[in-house]
Every structure is written in C-alpha cells, then in structure tokens.
C-alpha cells in the first residue's frame, strides 16, 4: 500500500492552475521535500504552539527550563564530583557537568517530545492532510527554546568561574546541530514505531537514562578505555557532548575520529529515520 503523490498540494492562492494530485495505491513515490518547504509556516506555528503552551499556567514559567539542568548539575557535582571524584579535565566540575548537561538535555528533551509527538497529534493526523514529518520536526526543534534559556545560565557560570570563550566557540552551533540531528534521527524512528507499538512510550524514560550514562555527560571521554573508544563513539551524543564542551571550555580536546564517527552515525540515523518514517506515515491515519 502506498500513496503516490506527484506534486505538492499547496500552492499560493494566486496560482491560477494548481497541478494535479494523484492518489493511488499502486506506486511508491515519496512526497517531495519541496512539499515540506511549502508547509514551513505550519512547522513554525506548531513549534510556536509547543513553546507557548509549555509554561502556560505555571507559577515560575520559563524558570523551569533552567531549574532542571541546574538541579541535576548540583546533584552530579555532589555525587560524581565530590564523592566519586570523577576527573573533569581541569575544568571546575560544576561547569564541566553543566556544559555536558546542556547538549544532553537538548537531545533528551527533543527526543522525548518527538517520540510522543505523532501519537499525541492523532487528532490532527486523522483529520487533516499535511506532510507528517512536520510533527516530529516541530517537536524536536521546540526543545531549542529551553536550551537557549538554560544556556544563559552557562554564560553566567563561565563569568563566575572566570572562563573566557576562545575562537573555538564558532564551532558551537555545529555541535548543537549534531545533538538536534541525533534527537531527530532517533526520534523519527521511534515516533513512527510508537504509532504501532505503544511499548515505545513506556521505554523512553529508561532509554534516555541509559543513554545519558553512555554519553560523556558526568565523566570525560578519557575515562573510557582506549580500545572501547571506537565503539563508544558510535553513540552520536559522544561527539555532540564532547565537542560542545570543547568549543566552550577549550578542554578536554576530543579526537577528530570521535567527532567524525559520531556525526556519521547521526546522519545515518537521520537518513534511515526519514526513510522509515515516510514508509510508515502512510498507515498513520489508520493505525493511530
């Protein structure tokens, strides 16, 4: 079963003759990425809605975006920094932990939202047509708002600890992007799978927790034995967290191999995720 969609549905009101759409079951042709572009305003509105609604009717509002990583940082500093005395590559442990938690929360938040996004948009999916990819895209991207707010605290911490940014900071957006793409890649796989098997939803908190300990958030990569390093870097968040910290604090210096490896895996996950999502989206309305 497949719907063949030759041309985008949307066009400006001014277009005199919209191209024909063919709906059928006998061919497998994907809707074009151009169509996704046509719907960019919907993407914007859905993100805007997510952000707008998130802290409605809360007392402290956006402060929640800061409290979560901040409290986690304090706990980690006490447990891993003070008690377990995990090395932090010459950076004060609180800064080390917070700089790891930021990209991590971006990933975890984006992932969590995107996995639930399709199922929680059931009412839209069963009543209106639009490229379904918009839903997990908007959910993932809306996590950047919390990230941006929490980032301000990091800047304050850097000032307090007297850490000045260097030229490396220009690489920062690249690593933020890597964390986002990783969240999107995994999110696409799991959000589509969640439509069919709601087990996915139950597994998320567990998955995210395990994943965090498999990423260099509370410890530096140098703690991982050399011979496991390659396998370890298959986790795209290894490159994202390590790179983020390096771009900001100048240390620890990651090896290029780790970064390339992580980025490569992230892109593979994303490409596979898009293909899988596109294949599954045809039955969303019937399954959801």
């Amino acid at each position: 079963m497949a719907a063949r969609v030759e041309t985008p549905l949307r066009n400006e009101g001014s277009t005199p003759h919209a191209p024909a759409i063919t709906i059928s079951a006998d061919r497998r042709t994907f809707a074009s990425f151009r169509e996704l572009w046509e719907y960019r305003e919907l993407l914007y509105f859905l993100m805007w809605r997510d952000v707008k609604v998130r802290y409605k009717q809360t007392f402290i509002g956006v402060a929640w975006a800061v409290i979560q990583p901040l409290v986690t940082m304090v706990i980690f500093t006490i447990i891993f920094g003070r008690l377990a005395r995990i090395p932090s590559a010459g950076v004060p442990y609180p800064v080390f932990a917070y700089a790891g938690l930021l990209p991590w929360h971006l990933f975890a938040g984006g992932l969590q939202r995107s996995i639930q996004s399709v199922v929680s948009s059931a009412h839209l999916i069963s009543k209106v047509y639009f490229p379904r990819l918009i839903v997990p895209l908007a959910a993932t991207f809306s996590a950047t708002i919390d990230f941006a707010i929490a980032f301000i605290v990091l800047v304050l911490m850097a000032v307090v600890y007297g850490l000045m940014p260097t030229w490396r900071v220009i690489a920062l957006p690249g690593f933020v992007g890597l964390a986002l793409l990783s969240a999107l890649g995994v999110g696409l796989w799991l959000s589509a799978l969640n439509v069919r098997y709601r087990d996915v939803g139950h597994a998320i908190p567990f998955l995210i927790q395990v994943w965090m300990y498999a990423s260099p958030v509370v410890y530096p990569v140098s703690l991982v034995p050399e011979r496991w390093r390659l396998v370890y870097s298959l986790n795209p968040m290894v490159g994202a967290v390590e790179g983020f910290r390096w771009a900001l604090l100048g240390k620890p210096v990651p090896d290029l191999q780790t970064i390339v490896m992580s980025a490569g895996v992230a892109f593979l996950l994303l490409a596979g995720g898009v293909a899988y999502f596109r294949r599954m989206e045809r039955t969303f309305a019937d399954m959801i």
């Binding site: 549905l9 063919t22 079951a25 609604v53 045809r282 309305a285 019937d286």
Partner: protein
C-alpha cells in the same frame, strides 16, 4: 468550462478489524500474531477480520459542481472523503485531483484550549493550509464572522462550546480552496449560525468552486447540491441530482434493514446471545418505517440465545439525525427482568406516546448476558418520524431545539396589584 476537478477510479479501502477493535498492538500481540500468521501462512491472514469500507467507487466531478454525498452511518462516506483529502490512502484504485484542496472533516481541528482566540485563528488557519499572510489579511473578517470579537485575547478554554464552534467555523469558512471537501460540519452550532454557514457555503458554491459535501441534513443537500451521490455498504449505489439522491436515500432508509445484522463492521460483542433482527412497529403493530409522534409505537428485537442465558438486560438508544441521543430505553430502568429465555424469541419495547420531533432516527441496541456485553448493534433500526399528533396543533419544534417532545401547557396569571408603598 467543464474541466474535471476530481476523478475517482475504482477507489477501494480495506480495513482490518482486529479483536477488541484496537488499531495498535503491543509487542506481545505482535509476537503471538506473528506466530499465528506463520502457522497459517497461506491466504488466511488477508481475508481474516477485514472489511471493505469502500469498494470500487468511480466518479468524475467537473469543476464548479456541488456534490452531496449521502448514505447511512458506516456506509463509507467518511472513508471516501478521507481518501480524497489524502489523510488515508486507498487499498486499490486511484483518484486525480485538479486544484487546491481544502478539507474540513471536523471543525476546529488543532484548536488548543490554552491559546487565545487570536492565536487559535492563526494555528487553525495554518493547519487547514492557509498562509500567514492570508490569515493576516482575513483576520478581521474571520473574527467578525465568528462574533467573538470581545474575547479575542481570552484562552479558548474559557469560551462556551457554541463560541468555540463559531470561531472554528469562521476560520474554516475563510479557506479559499478550489475544491472544498466538507464532512457534516453543519451539524453544530445554533440554528442562526447554521443558517449563516449554509449561506457561506452557497456563496462559495456560486463562486464556481467545487464542493464535496457529506451530510445527514437532507434539506441542506437538496438546497445546496446540484448532484447527489449515494453510498451504500461501501459501493456507489446512486448518482444523480441532489433531489433524486435524497429520495433514493429515504427509500433505502424505509427498507427493512437486513444489513445491520448480517455484515455490520460496527457490530461488537462476543455473540453468545445476539439479536437477529430489529423492527419499528407502528400503532397497528405492523412494521413501519414511518412513525407518528404522539401515537403509540413499539420496537421489536428478535434474539438468538446460544448460551442458554437465563438473565439478560437489553438497552436501546435512539439517535436523531443530528447524532444526538434522543432517548434511552433500558430494562433496568423499568425494572423488567425477563426469565426463562428460550433459544429464540423476541423482546418488545412499547412506547405509549412517541415523544420525538420530526426527523430521521436510528436505534442502537446492546444486550448484556452473564455480566458481559454479548451483542452491540449500533445501527439496528432506522425509521422516520414524518408527522405528529403530539401537540394539539400537530406542530413539532425542530430537533435542534430539543431532542424530545415534552407534553406541557401554558397559562397566564396577571400580576397582583402592587401593595408596596
């Protein structure tokens, strides 16, 4: 110009009806199903528990035509609209659509209760496929149409349901597609607003746009549609003028409904104790599809008792053509406890004075035996109330003013002369 707007060729849609009617599965079910499918590999899995919601439907709609799609509940109308709106895909067949489509399968899709009226206009507009610029341009017009100007910055959750519907329809009404696909959206709101919506629809139609319109509101179909398509059990059973299609549909309704008991995908229950037929009986005790308000009527349900159930509870609900539950008839309510049930028999529910406004009705029946629901037939019986002796004048209020007729009288008392100083 008679260029084609929509061409459908052999559209078919097959649905799986899984046990318990849940569309999604959990992992355990996947494993057991997988194992079962592995054992019964050849053929069995396709034919099992599937139903054709739509079967081999073909038609052509020229640009500018206003087409009404009618049929009983579950006939496949909504499935057809969903396929043409690209929400779900056909199992077989194809369709071609020429022009920008706007589909309204529901009013207020994507409304968020926490957001204000203003914000929801933008969000809903974007979801329906409008551009931000387009919404900016029409914003004041939309707001005026909805009659909710004063609350534009209030969260929608504080709106009354009527206001929500008006706002939602106002957004939808300002969608300017070349092809408009509408599903039963007029069955909401108060009468004045409905008239406004119908007016908007006919002005849209006069602008030469193509409209595909599903409704149970026969007068709307007759007034608006130049063409009517009747769908019956997933197949296109009639294609003609709106007027003809309505007549055909009313005739279909008048026929004794054999189908709800034979192949009804909406029927549920484990079947140990099940109904075999349901009939509406007139005053004379003869089967009738036209009942008279204010006169006696009965409903007769024949059953088959395969599990030698001793005690059963039968419940019967009437829905009007607005989808509202108008009345409920329940053995528990009257305290009736049937005893000594044979393998076959019939229950009769007698109503001394039928208190229903004019319109079409369908009855859903449910039976419980041994603590389980053994049969649920949502569309068991159809009938029409076409005349009334309920009130002395013979008039009845329209069903949107009240789902039931209540006997009453009026009197007048002059105010006693005021003694206040």
């Amino acid at each position: 110009m008679s260029a084609i707007a929509i061409r459908a060729e052999g559209l078919s849609k097959k649905y799986r009806i899984s046990a318990g009617n849940r569309a999604y599965k959990n992992l355990r079910e996947l494993l057991t199903d997988g194992f079962r499918n592995f054992l019964a590999r050849d053929g069995a899995r396709g034919g099992l528990d599937t139903v054709w919601a739509l079967r081999d439907v073909s038609f052509e709609i020229p640009q500018g035509q206003v087409v009404g799609v009618i049929g009983r509940n579950g006939a496949g109308k909504s499935t057809l609209l969903k396929i043409l709106s690209r929400i779900t895909e056909p199992t077989e067949g194809r369709a071609e659509i020429h022009g920008r489509v706007g589909s309204l399968l529901e009013v207020g899709t994507g409304f968020h209760p926490e957001l204000s009226g203003r914000e929801n206009i933008y969000l809903n507009g974007a979801i329906l496929g409008m551009r931000k610029r387009e919404i900016d341009r029409k914003f004041d017009e939309i707001l005026a149409f909805s009659e909710t100007e004063r609350f534009v910055d209030t969260p929608v959750k504080r709106y009354s349901s009527g206001m929500q519907v008006r706002l939602a329809f106002a957004v939808a009404a300002h969608l300017e597609p070349e092809i408009l696909i509408v599903d039963e959206v007029l069955a909401v709101g108060d009468v004045a607003f409905q008239r406004k919506c119908l007016g908007k629809m006919s002005s849209v139609a006069q602008e030469g746009r193509t409209i595909l319109f599903v409704s149970h509101n026969m007068s709307a179909i007759q007034n608006l549609c130049t063409r009517g398509i009747l769908i019956r059990q997933g197949r296109l059973s009639f294609d003609g003028t709106g007027e003809q299609a309505v007549m055909e549909y009313l005739q279909e309704l008048a026929q004794p409904a054999a189908s709800p008991f034979a192949a009804n995908p909406h029927r549920k229950g484990d079947g140990g104790f099940r109904f075999t037929s349901a009939r509406a009986l007139g005053e004379d005790g003869e089967e009738s599809s036209h009942l008279v308000a204010g006169r006696p009527a009965s409903f007769e349900f024949a059953y088959e008792n395969r599990i030698e159930a001793r005690q059963v509870i039968v419940e019967f609900t009437l829905h009007n053509d607005w989808g509202t539950a108008a009345a409920n008839f329940h053995m528990d309510l009257t305290g009736y406890i049937p005893e000594g049930l044979p393998p076959r028999g019939r229950f009769i529910c007698h109503i001394p004075i039928l208190p229903l406004p004019l319109g079409e009705y369908r009855g859903a029946i449910v039976v419980r035996a041994g603590g389980r629901q053994t049969d649920i037939v949502p569309n068991a019986v159809f009938f029409r109330v076409a005349s009334s002796t309920f009130f002395p004048t013979g008039r009845t209020p329209p069903p949107q003013f009240g789902a039931c007729l209540v006997a009453h009288d009026w009197r007048h008392e002059p105010e006693a002369a005021s003694k206040q100083g």
